[in-house]
């Protein structure tokens, strides 16, 4: 029997960049196949070729044994390929059924046949084990269910091979578990699943086989039972990775940040301290007040009530400049929006916010020599690639952009480091580096507030963990005693175990 997907010797070049060189991928029918690799390894390019968004420069693509000659999205859909995008393509104000049939609506005469659309969606849902109310509005659904609708959309168009692009990036641990169950259900119905990921755990949890790409080449394809996470990581980045971060016990000193009854937006009154030399983790499902907390603690939002003292200065209604002056360093939630200016150079981004310090501004004139010298030093120390301070920040990969932000904020030598999702969308090598940097800050004596939706990250780094639920602190757990399951219960509003 022919494989569901067979891609042989795929080559794709873009001006200045070779995205794929002789990539091979064989996906058997009815398997769950993970495609892993760091950002920029060529995963997306390969999948875009399969979906008919790019034509390869060389190589052969066969779908269920038939060679593809027509590289257009319509042809790929007709051949049974369906893509579930990371960013959902949905109309929030329409219902589930309307979204699923959008583009090929059932009609009765000139009118939209709503009943038939709803029946069809319900039937698809029960056949594949993806229950969802066809009449619910998309905007009322949690992200996990929105993703389910996206999968239904692809199935409604007759997809036999489903490609999921980083599907768990937006999900809670519980929702991820539910997604894995969905994938297994699709498999039992004879569907084939390819999912793109650079998260080792989910690869291990969900896939049957794994293909790893690195720098546009296939490193290898292995059954999942034969490799452990360390081996996968080594395949992805080409060298062994240390997962167990060595962490000495914290030796916290006096409180650096004192937060009392702080409220604003979804944040409904939180009280906690962060002491010098400790990492306090903030866990929680996204949208439970974390963004507001980070915004207030970096001067981007005025608190509605309560106080926040940094080294004794009350700043709950102050702007960013006052926070920085008091000793803040911040890795913002959205680095592309708030951390960096894409069209400016790496060197300019490295002084952004520090540009008024006497070292970089002499009588109002930019001290270009100091800026460039320091930028060259930071680029080397933080291993930012390409090692060109004049490159536009936009041209860097996600991991390297984040390194620019981290480099800048750490070079402030902050008394308090607020790190919001510091490794989101960052590749394995950079994650390791960023984690080490955060621990080094703790060792130096900085107070660190780590906000993350990645529980393993919080568990690995935090000395104390606060769980936010509904804008309030649902519980505090000591890092050494915390478990993923226990935190998960607190996150969703359950009583502590």
């Amino acid at each position: 029997m022919a494989a569901a997907v067979e891609m042989v010797g795929i080559e794709k070049r873009f001006p200045r960049v070779v995205a794929n060189v002789g990539v091979n991928l064989v996906v058997e029918e009815g398997e769950i196949h993970a495609l892993a690799g760091e950002n920029g390894a060529g995963k997306s390019t390969l999948m875009k070729i399969l979906c008919g968004l790019h034509a390869p420069d060389a190589g052969v693509v066969r779908i269920f044994g038939r060679e593809v000659t027509d590289f257009r999205p319509a042809a790929a859909i007709a051949a049974g390929i369906g893509m579930v995008h990371q960013h959902f393509m949905q109309v929030p104000t329409l219902t589930v059924a309307e979204n699923v049939v959008l583009g090929e609506e059932p009609r009765r005469g000139p009118f939209f046949d709503r009943r038939r659309a709803e029946e069809r969606v319900a039937e698809l849902g029960s056949r594949f084990g993806l229950p969802v109310d066809p009449r619910a509005r998309i905007e009322d659904l949690p992200v996990g269910l929105q993703q389910r609708v996206e999968i239904l959309k692809v199935l409604a168009r007759g997809a036999r091979v489903l490609i999921l692009d980083e599907p768990t990036a937006v999900l809670t641990p519980q929702e991820s578990e539910s997604l894995y169950a969905t994938l297994r259900s699709l498999k039992s119905q004879g569907r084939t699943v390819i999912f793109i990921s650079h998260k080792l755990r989910e690869v291990r949890a969900a896939a049957d086989r794994l293909t790893v790409l690195r720098r546009g080449r296939t490193v290898g394809t292995v059954p999942i039972g034969e490799v452990d996470e360390a081996k996968i990581a080594e395949m992805m980045i080409g060298r062994p990775v240390l997962f167990e971060i060595e962490k000495t016990p914290a030796a916290p000193a006096g409180a650096v940040l004192e937060v009392r009854d702080l409220a604003g937006g979804r944040l409904r009154g939180v009280t906690f301290d962060v002491r010098a030399g400790e990492i306090v983790g903030v866990a929680g499902v996204e949208g439970n007040g974390q963004s507001e907390l980070v915004e207030i603690l970096s001067g981007l939002r005025q608190a509605g009530s309560g106080t926040a003292r940094l080294r004794g200065r009350e700043l709950s209604r102050a702007g960013p400049a006052a926070w920085f002056e008091a000793g803040l360093g911040v890795i913002p939630e959205d680095r592309n929006l708030r951390g960096l200016i894409g069209e400016m150079s790496v060197a300019d981004n490295l002084i952004l916010g520090r540009h008024r310090q006497p070292r970089y501004s002499r009588a109002g004139i930019v001290a270009g020599a100091a800026r460039d010298a320091d930028a060259a030093g930071l680029v080397e120390r933080f291993d930012i690639r390409p090692a060109d301070p004049r490159a536009e920040a936009e041209s860097l990969s996600g991991g390297n952009r984040q390194k620019v932000v981290v480099a800048r904020e750490l070079s402030r030598v902050p008394g308090l480091l607020v790190a919001a999702h510091p490794t989101r969308g960052v590749d394995v090598g950079a994650i390791e580096f960023i984690h080490r940097s955060i621990l080094a800050e703790r060792a130096r004596g900085a107070a660190v507030l780590l906000v993350s939706s990645e529980l393993p990250e919080i568990l690995a780094l935090a000395d104390r963990i606060l769980v936010l639920c509904g804008g309030a602190i649902a519980g505090e757990v000591r890092g050494a005693e915390a478990t993923e399951r226990g935190l998960g219960v607190l996150m969703t509003g359950g009583a502590p175990a």
Partner: protein
């Protein structure tokens, strides 16, 4: 070739150059559609251009037309670099102009070395103040500067008319105009010296220019403003903050750059540059503020938007762009046998092509990046 295409300057210089080429082709096609030989027409234009005083005349006219365009183009560019669209150049030129004329008249006895800077300052201050209204409303009230500057244009026309036809009016005539500025406020024509001229800086005399052309020393102020704007934007800390606010407003705010002050400064500078354009009219050409001349002159501010676009919002690009639009205006006088509207079509075509070209280059770049 590939290296040339990848060079960062290609994306900046490419679109305007291609736009001019495309507009020229379109113009030729239109002329052919009118039943004329485009090459024949080009020959007649050349013949016309080289008659009388020859190309020196044309060069001087192009400079004369380009002078206000450099000022207003720079003004638009500075606001644009901060992420704002100042289309109120017209009003800013008029307020700057009437203040310039007022100071030149009230302080008419002052010597040139004091009066010229005073008049420059008045023109800049008038434009800056007028634009700051829009800047402040944008920064503190969130009112869109496009709407506000359009409204301020109308107000500026009414306000200057009220003053020039009322309180500050010269004599009893019908004309809304101010009394003449003092001789010390007059900028010399590029060709009008040394003999019989009231030149402030006769050393700068460029005898190659014919004296009857209104090109005057304001061009030197315009060029100085280009250098100053460049140095300010790319060499000062405030300039860095302005560009950062334009390119990434959220990131700039998060970095502690005060967004409101920055927007206000950008708008004030933008208006000051537009206001300085009036020095060309008041001090260089007419020696007074006359309402009808001022109104016609201030209309040039809208072409300044096209100049900024064509010059990619960079001082080094704005000078050639202003010269190009100046040349197109000169072309209108040299055309024969075809409607003068051809020039307007060419202007419009250049703008359209440069917009399309920017978009095409931008997409090509981002595609390369996505790869």
């Amino acid at each position: 070739m590939r290296a040339l295409l990848a060079h960062p300057w290609t994306a900046r210089i490419g679109p305007p150059v291609l736009a001019v080429a495309c507009a020229a082709l379109l113009g030729a096609a239109l002329v052919a559609a009118l039943g004329q030989n485009p090459f024949g027409l080009a020959g007649r234009v050349w013949g016309e251009a080289t008659r009388y005083h020859g190309l020196r005349d044309d060069a001087a006219y192009v400079i004369a037309y380009a002078t206000p365009l450099i000022f207003t183009g720079l003004g638009v560019a500075i606001a644009f670099r901060a992420g704002m669209f100042n289309i109120g150049g017209q009003g800013q030129v008029m307020i700057g102009g009437i203040l310039c004329g007022f100071v030149g008249w009230k302080l008419a006895a002052w010597p040139a070395w004091a009066l010229v800077p005073a008049c420059f300052a008045a023109a800049a201050a008038g434009g800056a103040a007028w634009a700051s209204i829009a800047g402040a409303l944008r920064a503190w009230r969130g009112s869109h500067e496009v709407i506000v500057t359009i409204m301020l244009n109308v107000l500026a026309v009414a306000l200057t008319e009220t003053l020039a036809g009322g309180r500050w009016k010269s004599g009893a005539g019908m004309m809304s105009q101010l009394p003449d500025v003092g001789p010390g406020a007059r900028l010399p024509r590029l060709g009008a010296w040394p003999e019989g001229s009231t030149s402030v800086v006769p050393v700068l005399g460029i005898p190659v220019f014919p004296a009857h052309v209104p090109a005057n020393a304001a061009i030197f102020l315009a060029l100085a403003c280009c250098v100053a704007a460049w140095a300010w934007l790319w060499r000062t800390t405030r300039g860095f903050e302005l560009r950062a606010t334009g390119l990434g407003p959220e990131a700039a705010r998060a970095a502690g750059i005060p967004p409101r002050t920055t927007l206000l400064i950008a708008m004030a500078l933008s208006g000051a540059l537009a206001g300085l354009a009036a020095t060309d009219l008041v001090m260089g050409q007419k020696g007074t503020w006359r309402q009808d001349d001022g109104l016609a002159f201030a209309g040039q501010a809208f072409i300044g938007i096209a100049v900024a676009l064509m010059g990619q919002n960079h001082p080094a690009g704005i000078v050639p762009a202003a010269l190009l639009f100046g040349a197109l205006q000169r072309l209108a006088f040299l055309l024969s046998g075809v409607p003068k509207d051809l020039v307007f079509i060419l202007q419009a075509a250049v703008i359209l092509f440069v917009v399309c070209g920017n978009e095409i280059f931008r997409r090509a770049l981002s595609r390369r990046r996505a790869a």
